[in-house]
């Protein structure tokens, strides 16, 4: 059985498989490909044109045919792999020569459009999408200098996916680059389709609470990261750039700040810092002050808090957990709801539940205010990956405050500082500002 017959039988049940004969003068060719990946009419037109011209001008058709693309060995496995990769495979029937031709592809991605997860107030608004090539195009148009290095890696055994690594030779930290390329090169047999698989390849701890990477939809953010000595990864079908490593300042600094006057940029960053502290401390502080250390409060405040908690049946920690649980549920529920139903949940959750829960004397008024402030402050941080860590850490502080009061709150903050100080991503410590500099720790 010839190779082409084997290919035909392999694809026999595929509805999008095309095997087409083409007769040019006395030579006959077989073209095979998947029409779901290839725009066939245009591709055939593109292929036939040079062959016809060759016959008219009495050139060797076979030479022109060989120049259409990459010569491949005619074996069924090679042909199948090329077809699955979206290439058009052409075989000269008489000589059995095979060529893999880059075709006119079927459009398989949205066009470059507005970001869906990020917002830009002062800068460009075109965002990365699922198409690797257009992502590189966007990156290059924002950083059109010859120093930009672009390296491609192929991952996966059965399921293939391409990963592109971009960085600038003179700015990137050598330790980071060494670690990164070594990890990428040694794990090329693994599949990479999700961020979890990427974390596995890059050897990140499974029990890490703080994100090791940032994802950006806006190219200017990725470019800023490259300029600051970080590496950017693009994975096929991932509509964002993965910036490695993430450092402490990523919580507060955004490229968009650079489009504002410096004073306002710094004020905005301080605001985000205050937001971080607020969302971490406030629920714990409430519990500490209400149930363990009321002596810290001014008398007037203590009296009015006592009044607002008059008929509340639960201790402060239960009260706070109850409402926090509902808030987490609302935040989680709203992600997957269609846009048309989302506002209903907000209204029911915010107004109806909030009001009713106070009137039913399940929680105190003050707690509603505090938890609202906490949730709002949580969103002030740059990058949604970072909000997860803050959402979790506030529970640590909450429990410690319930046990040990203000002292517990303080020791909780100390534990957090120690934890954050110990994080390293690919040899780069987490606690750094602006430049990601590696140290020789690992």
């Amino acid at each position: 059985m010839s190779a082409i017959e084997e290919v035909n039988s392999h694809f026999s049940t595929f509805p999008d498989f095309v095997c087409q004969k083409l007769q040019i003068a006395s030579e006959s060719f077989t073209f095979v490909g998947l029409k779901s990946l290839i725009n066939f009419p245009q591709t055939m037109y593109m292929v036939r044109d040079p062959l016809l011209t060759a016959t008219i001008n009495n050139l060797m058709v076979i030479d022109v045919f060989a120049g259409l693309g990459q010569p491949i060995s005619v074996q069924s496995e090679t042909i199948i792999a090329e077809i699955m990769d979206g290439m058009l495979v052409a075989i000269h029937d008489a000589s059995g020569m095979g060529v893999s031709i880059y075709p006119v592809p079927q459009p398989n991605s949205r066009t470059i459009s507005l970001p869906t997860m990020e917002n830009s107030i002062g800068g460009a608004t075109s965002s990365f999408n699922e198409n690797l090539e257009s992502n590189i195009t966007l990156l290059r148009s924002h950083l059109n200098c010859p120093e930009l290095q672009v390296k491609a890696y192929n991952f996966g055994g059965n399921v293939k996916s391409r990963v592109i690594l971009c960085y600038m030779e003179e700015t990137i930290d050598p330790i980071l680059l060494d670690n990164l390329t070594q990890k990428l090169e040694s794990n090329q047999d693994l599949e990479i389709a999700t961020m979890k698989e990427l974390s596995l390849i890059l050897d990140f701890s499974r029990y890490s609470f703080v994100t090791h990477y940032m994802t950006y939809e806006l190219p200017q953010n990725a470019v800023r990261a490259i300029k600051n000595g970080k590496a950017v990864l693009f994975i096929e079908r991932m509509p964002f750039a993965i910036v490695l490593p993430s450092i402490f300042s990523d919580l507060f600094m955004s490229e968009d700040d650079m489009n504002h006057p410096p004073i306002y940029a710094w004020l905005l960053r301080s605001l985000r810092f205050i937001g971080t502290l607020t969302t971490l401390i406030l629920p714990g502080l409430y519990v500490a002050l209400v149930s363990v250390n009321p002596d810290v409060l001014r008398f007037e405040l203590a009296h009015s808090i006592a009044r607002s908690r008059l008929d509340v049946p639960y201790p402060a920690i239960i009260e706070a957990l109850l409402l926090l649980c509902i808030l987490e549920l609302i935040m989680e529920a709203i992600i997957r709801l269609p846009n048309s139903i989302g506002p209903t949940i907000t209204m029911v959750g915010g107004i109806v539940l909030g009001q009713a829960v106070v009137e039913a004397k399940l929680v105190s008024n003050l707690l509603i205010i505090i938890l609202a402030a906490t949730t709002i402050a949580n969103a002030a941080v740059v990058g949604f990956q970072n909000t997860y860590a803050l959402r979790l850490f506030k529970y640590l502080l909450l429990f410690l405050s319930a046990f040990l009061g203000v002292l517990g709150l303080l020791s909780g903050l100390l534990i957090l500082c120690a934890y954050v100080a110990g994080i390293r991503t690919l040899g780069v410590p987490y606690l750094q500002l602006i430049r990601a500099k590696g140290d020789s720790y690992e």
Binding site: V290, S291, V292, P294, R309, L310, A402, F403, G405, G408
Partner: protein, 351 residues
């Protein structure tokens, strides 16, 4: 490692004692505590603002006991919530008790750690049960008057002495420092009425100052304030800033203190048409007269309320310093010079 973390967590939970925490609405937060002493028995009054929706009134609860903590415990036992003295702002003793001596209760207050050392110490000019009945009057307001009365950002006035518990404790154990405590009683048209202040020596009340003298005491003691002084029949001035410069020396084994008091005042009222110079000189003689009165009282009572002895600590050995109040203070010569600047005369001009 994991085991160690687990052990730590268990200890945090077990040793935290979180089940003993009482929420703020299950604690009674008294703002004032009255203590009287009769025949070896303490009677404690607690002034607890009621926590209710309508936010009305106070609750006055009293109990007797051999010690203060025994009496407080008795109240806590009989109340529906736990008494938490950490928010206590005013400690009131009656005059008889103050004359008898406050060193014991000051020591127990500092020792117990349940009462903040910043709590104000106050002497009451009438029996405590009567006083608490007086301020527990609904028409007086929400029951927190006693707290507001001594708050510098609300009801406090420069005519009222301002002495926290730690200063009393210091005066008891110091050779060279005494304090004055405010004296109050329940008023007729207001909840509380200031009755001047009492001079405390080693924790015992030995003499009294009037309201006017207390104002001058506060000025000379260096508390920044904006008290108003009436210059006999001529004008009323308001003190806007005061500064004291002291020079201490020994002359013939007799302490001499040269004090210069710089006052900046503004004129509030004038009667007739006095000139600025007249007001100035009148003010200076008036201040000197009142302060001389205070110094006389001080010498008679052997109580160093201005802490004059502080300036001589380096000149005297400790054995001599122990006799500061009795041996040196009565001989002390204080040369006071008052320099006043009239900063402005209001919107009207004076000749």
């Amino acid at each position: 490692m994991k085991k160690r973390i687990l052990v730590c967590m268990v200890f945090v939970i077990l040793l935290g004692g979180c089940w003993d925490n009482k929420d703020i609405n299950h604690r009674a937060l008294p703002i004032a505590m009255g203590i009287s002493y009769q025949q070896g028995n303490y009677e404690v009054f607690l002034d607890i603002p009621t926590v209710s929706d309508k936010n009305e009134g106070i609750q006055v609860i009293s109990a007797k006991g051999d010690t203060i903590s025994a009496a407080v415990n008795k109240i806590s036992m009989n109340m529906e919530s736990q008494v938490d003295l950490l928010h206590l702002k005013v400690l009131i003793v009656d005059k008889a008790f103050a004359t008898l001596g406050l060193s014991e209760i000051t020591a127990s207050t500092i020792r117990s750690r349940h009462i903040s050392p910043k709590t104000m110490f106050v002497i009451c000019d009438e029996p405590l049960d009567q006083f608490f009945k007086g301020i527990n009057n609904m028409k007086n307001g929400d029951g927190k008057e006693i707290y507001d009365f001594f708050q510098k950002n609300s009801g406090w006035n420069p005519e009222i002495a301002h002495t926290p518990v730690w200063k009393v404790f210091r005066s008891i154990h110091s050779y060279t420092n005494d304090v004055v405590l405010p004296i109050i009683k329940s008023g007729e048209s207001t909840a509380i009425q200031s009755m001047g202040s009492g001079i405390l020596r080693n924790g015992k009340m030995v003499s009294r100052l009037s309201n006017e003298q207390t104002l001058l005491y506060n000025v000379f003691d260096g508390n920044s304030l904006d008290g108003k002084i009436e210059v006999m029949g001529k004008a009323t001035v308001q003190i806007v800033s005061s500064r004291i410069h002291n020079e201490s020396k020994f002359v013939n084994n007799q302490p001499v203190l040269n004090s210069t008091l710089h006052l900046k005042v503004i004129i509030m009222d004038v009667i007739g048409v006095p000139s600025i110079e007249v007001i100035k000189t009148e003010l200076q003689t008036l201040l000197r007269r009142i302060l001389d009165q205070i110094f006389k009282k001080m010498e008679r009572a052997n109580a160093d309320i201005f802490g004059i002895g502080q300036h001589y600590r380096e000149d005297l050995p400790r054995t001599e310093l122990a006799e500061w109040r009795t041996k040196y203070l009565p001989q002390a010569k204080i040369n006071l010079e008052v320099k006043t600047t009239i900063r402005n005369t209001g919107n009207l001009k004076l000749k």
